[in-house]
């Protein structure tokens, strides 16, 4: 996929794009291009507009179907946040995601380094097995993992892990994709650096933490970004392991609210907006890295 990255960079940096054809109808063509692009943008944005607009309406306005609320009802958000317990779900999601990311980063940095720079027996075989797990559909893992987490296959410390932080976080604390990404980066670091570090008496751990990590900000950011999206958007697995509200994350909370809200669409939409905010903030802040990360990896989330 290396060619794709350079392709994206080219398509951005040159900015010239394809030269225009058929000069006679230049302005005509040009405006047609803009019209199509704008129609596309409107279609992409309408659901978001609808969601935000509805979230600020009163119940009457959602039933009589106005396009915009007469007076924006910010109180809807307060109601969703407090009464519909979105506050609880939100902080649950924040904690679950943070814990998952810390775990994910630790395991994938260590493993990525080892696969890229340490010569141990069976390295390639283990790496190949890990990579093969990328094609496994989530569907097949739910049932056995649910039983594992309930403690029915092997007894777990503390009995059942249902409705616990560890059940929500631990399964996502490692994945082959992150290891692969970091492995590729670490393997490129010149060997001379390692030789010099060894002369200074450094071992692998010190070399990793003091030399490799400071220069690996870009791939680490990519791992964090994808890890964040994966964890924040997770739905099926949290749905299975949270029978109570104690650790229920946002996505599951929103889903259970679909049946609870009934006709109160304005509250449902306010809840929906709350689930989006952190993702949108991160997307707008890291826009370039975001799109480039996807083009490099060709990853489908």
């Amino acid at each position: 996929m290396a060619s794709l990255t350079t392709g994206l960079e080219k398509s951005q940096s040159e900015g010239k794009g394809v030269r225009k054809f058929s000069r006679g109808s230049r302005t005509g063509n040009q405006s047609l291009v803009y019209i199509i692009l704008i129609i596309g943008a409107v279609l992409a944005l309408v659901p978001f507009f609808w969601m935000i607009s509805t979230s600020l309406m009163s119940l009457g306005e959602t039933i009589n179907r106005k396009w915009l609320p007469a007076v924006p009802q910010v109180a809807n958000y307060i109601q969703a946040w407090n009464e519909a317990k979105f506050a609880r779900y939100f902080w649950n999601s924040v904690i679950i995601t943070s814990v998952t990311l810390i775990g994910l980063l630790t395991t994938s940095i260590l493993a990525g380094y080892a696969f890229g720079r340490i010569n141990f027996k069976g390295r390639n075989a283990i790496f190949a097995i890990l990579l093969s797990t990328m094609m496994i559909p989530e569907t097949i893992t739910w049932l056995p993992n649910l039983m594992l987490v309930r403690g029915t296959i092997i007894p777990l410390p503390g009995g059942s892990w249902l409705n616990s932080l560890q059940a929500l976080a631990v399964p996502f604390m490692a994945n082959a994709f992150s290891i692969f990404l970091l492995n590729q980066f670490f393997a490129q670091i010149p060997h001379e650096l390692w030789d010099a570090a060894q002369i200074d008496g450094a071992n692998h751990f010190r070399f990793l933490t003091q030399i490799c990590l400071p220069i690996s900000k870009a791939p680490i950011m990519t791992v964090l970004l994808f890890g964040f999206i994966g964890s924040w958007n997770a739905f099926a697995w949290p749905l299975l392991v949270t029978t109570r509200e104690t650790w229920r994350p946002l996505m599951v909370g929103l889903w259970t609210f679909v049946s609870e809200a009934g006709p109160e669409t304005h509250l449902l939409m306010a809840g929906a907006v709350i689930t989006l905010i952190p993702i949108l903030v991160i997307y707008f802040l890291t826009q370039k890295q975001f799109t480039q990360g996807i083009a490099t990896t060709g990853l489908k989330g």
Binding site: K10, I63, E138, W142, N145, M251, I279, L280
Partner: protein
């Protein structure tokens, strides 16, 4: 004397070396251990355990060993299954003949292409025969869910790719606000599917005042039930009364397909945009000298040179639809009945709502084998293809 003095340092060195090798090995294992353990336990072990569970009559608690009974329940008729697999093998043969046609001279190529077409038709007939036998005796719900999955894949993948390619091409022109457009197109893909699926549930609800029905009213069309409509689109729009698979996807599934296109076209736009950056400018200049206009250049330069990217995206997206769950689950309303239940949703239902663990395990093994087959085919096909870059 000289030889003995030489021997000592070598053995010493070897000893030091092996100690260091041991240390390297141990460090390596220690470093990979946390990741490997988590991935083995939560990623690989489930496959083995599903295989094990699928051989039992397992409802919450493990029951009797039943061998292949769960699989027989799925396929119903093993003879029909064998016929279906035979048809699938013929399909592979047709592909083999087709690719062979491109490698040989024009005379033979013609014959091979005709041969491939004939084999393709025969394969189709045999597969549908086998499928008919399976559906008659097997688990209609699960087999039907596979058809629904294919409907969804066929409905969403080509369109999302086509739209993605067009927008990528337009964005690649000399236009203003390129970054803004790209950011907007990518937004539906970035936002959590559960959230956007919930929003689509209200936009495409059966209420007369839902956004979709308001838009219909602009064109003086009556309201539709959208996600809550189990009737086939061929019946709703064309008034045709067809039965079973022939009727095609329901309007509810059609709405989910619309969501799929909306959600994923931006992803394809970004990948295509990257692919466009790799096409040499000289080709467009040459096309211009030859008098090609914008459309001709798009047809004769862009599409052929993007074909490796399109092919990659097609296969990845197609496999992705077999793995997809979240939005399909959220948008599957009870009113739409089983016309929107894809394989992954069906499996979830069998163990989560019906508590039939052994049977769900067998179903998930079947789905896993289908995805495995598709992935192997993908790697083979992509491996054979030439990439222009």
């Amino acid at each position: 004397m000289a030889s003995t003095t030489n021997v000592i340092p070598i053995t010493k060195k070897r000893k030091v070396y092996s100690l260091r090798a041991l240390q390297e090995n141990l460090t390596g294992y220690a470093f990979v251990a946390p990741a490997v353990i988590i991935i083995l336990v939560f990623g690989l072990f489930p496959i083995i355990y599903s295989l094990y569970m699928s051989l039992f009559n397992w409802r919450i608690r493990k029951g009797d060993f039943t061998g292949l009974v769960n699989y027989t329940k799925i396929f119903g008729d093993w003879g029909g299954f064998a016929i279906f697999i035979g048809g699938l093998a013929l399909l592979g043969t047709a592909y083999w003949l087709w690719t062979g046609a491109f490698k040989s001279n024009s005379n033979l190529a013609r014959k091979l292409q005709i041969g491939a077409a004939v084999v393709l038709i025969v394969a189709g007939i045999i597969m549908s025969m086998g499928w008919g036998k399976m559906v008659a005796a097997g688990d209609e719900d699960f087999l039907n869910s596979l058809i629904i999955t294919i409907f969804y894949a066929v409905g969403t993948v080509p369109l999302q790719l086509g739209i993605g390619m067009i927008f990528a091409y337009l964005l690649y022109q000399k236009i203003r606000g390129k970054e803004v457009f790209r950011m907007i197109y990518f937004l539906p893909y970035v936002t959590p599917v559960v959230t956007t699926a919930v929003v689509f549930r209200t936009i495409f609800s059966s209420r007369e005042t839902s956004l979709a029905n308001i838009v219909l009213s602009w064109f003086n069309a009556g309201p539709l039930k959208w996600l809550f409509e189990p009737k086939a689109m061929s019946e709703v729009f064309l008034g045709l009364k067809l039965e079973g698979i022939a009727a095609g996807p329901s309007l509810a599934l059609g709405t989910i397909i619309l969501f799929g296109i909306w959600s994923f076209f931006g992803y394809n736009t970004v990948i295509f945009l990257a692919g466009l950056g790799g096409i040499p400018k000289e080709l467009y200049e040459a096309a211009e000298i030859d008098g090609a206009n914008g459309w001709n250049a798009f047809k004769n330069v862009t599409i052929p040179l993007l074909s490796p990217v399109s092919f990659y995206l097609f296969l990845v997206s197609f496999i992705g639809t077999f793995k997809a769950f979240n939005h399909l689950y959220v948008m599957a309303t009870p009113n739409a009945q089983n016309t929107v239940v894809t394989a992954s949703v069906q499996i979830f239902d069998v163990f989560y709502a019906q508590n039939n663990f052994g049977y769900a395990a067998a179903q998930s093994i079947v789905l896993f084998l289908i995805i495995l087959g598709l992935t192997v085919a993908q790697n083979k096909i992509l491996g054979e293809r030439v990439f222009y870059g």
